[in-house]
Amino acid sequence: MTQEQVYELIKGALVEAIGVDEEEIGPEKTLLGDLGAESLDLLDVLFRISRKTGVKVTMDDITAMIQGEVPDEDFETADGLLSDKGLEQLKRSLPQIDVESLRGKFEADRVLTLFTVDNLTNLVVQSISVKAS
C-alpha cells in the first residue's frame, strides 16, 4: 500500500471510530488533541486499521515509536517533564514538533497528545513494510 492509500484508510477509520467530519482531518492534526479522540477511540481506530491492512499496530507500538530506545528514567526529569534526552528523541520520532517550545515545561506523560495523523500513517506504512520484508 502507498503512503497515500494508508492515509486515506486511516482517515476513513477516524471518521467511523470518532465520528469526526472528513474535512476536519488533516495530516498535521493530533489524534488526542485536535480530533478529540480518547484512548478507547484510538483502540477502535487501531482495530479498524488492523482489519483493513492485516497489520497490527498497538498502543505499545505507538509509545515505543515515540520514545525510541530511551528508557523511562532518561526520557523524563525527576519532576516528570520531558528531559533533554527525551526532547532529542522527539526530534527524531515526531519531527513536526518544535521541541524548544516544550523544553522545561511539557510533562512526559502528555507526549501521546503530540501524535498526529501523519505520525500514525508513517507508523502503519513502516509496519506494513516490515511485515512484507
Binding site: 484512548s39 478507547l40 477502535d44 482495530f47 488492523s50 498502543m59 505499545d60 509509545t63 515505543a64 501521546l112
Partner: protein, 126 residues
C-alpha cells in the same frame, strides 16, 4: 506513606459499539475471567465499561499511561466470591511495578449506570 489515585469514566455505549464492531476488542482487553463474568450478565456492557475504566484508572494511578508497557489483561478486575466486592488482580509488568514502586496496597471502587461507568484506583506506597 503516600497515596496515588487514578480515576476514569467510560461511556457504556462506546464500549458496546466497539465490542460489536471489533470483536477482538473483548479478546485483547479483557481476561477470560472478566469476559465470563460480564457476558453472563443482563447489563454486560455496563460491567465491561466499569472494567475498562478500572484498567485506565490503574494506568493513571501508577503513572505509565496506556502503551507504557503494561498489557490490558495484566490488570484484571475480579470480584470477591462472597461479598462481590471488586478488586484488582495484577500480573506481568503491572505486578512487577507494585514491587518496584513500593506499593503495599491496591484498592478499587466501581460504579455504573446505563450510560456511564466510573472506576477509582488508590495505590498506597510505603
Amino acid at each position: 506513606m503516600e497515596i496515588k489515585i487514578g480515576i476514569d469514566l467510560a461511556f457504556v455505549a462506546k464500549i458496546k459499539k466497539l465490542a460489536e464492531s471489533s470483536p477482538e476488542f473483548l479478546e485483547e482487553v479483557f481476561t477470560e475471567t472478566e469476559r465470563s463474568y460480564c457476558l453472563g450478565k443482563k447489563r454486560c456492557f455496563e460491567h465491561l465499561a466499569a472494567r475498562f475504566a478500572a484498567k485506565e484508572a490503574f494506568f493513571k494511578a501508577i503513572g505509565t499511561g496506556i502503551g507504557g508497557g503494561i498489557g490490558w489483561k495484566e490488570i484484571e478486575v475480579r470480584n470477591h466470591f462472597r461479598t462481590g466486592r471488586p478488586y484488582l488482580n495484577l500480573a506481568g509488568k503491572a505486578e512487577e511495578m507494585l514491587a518496584s514502586r513500593q506499593i503495599v496496597s491496591v484498592d478499587l471502587s466501581l460504579s455504573h449506570t446505563e450510560e456511564l461507568a466510573i472506576a477509582q484506583v488508590a495505590l498506597l506506597l510505603e
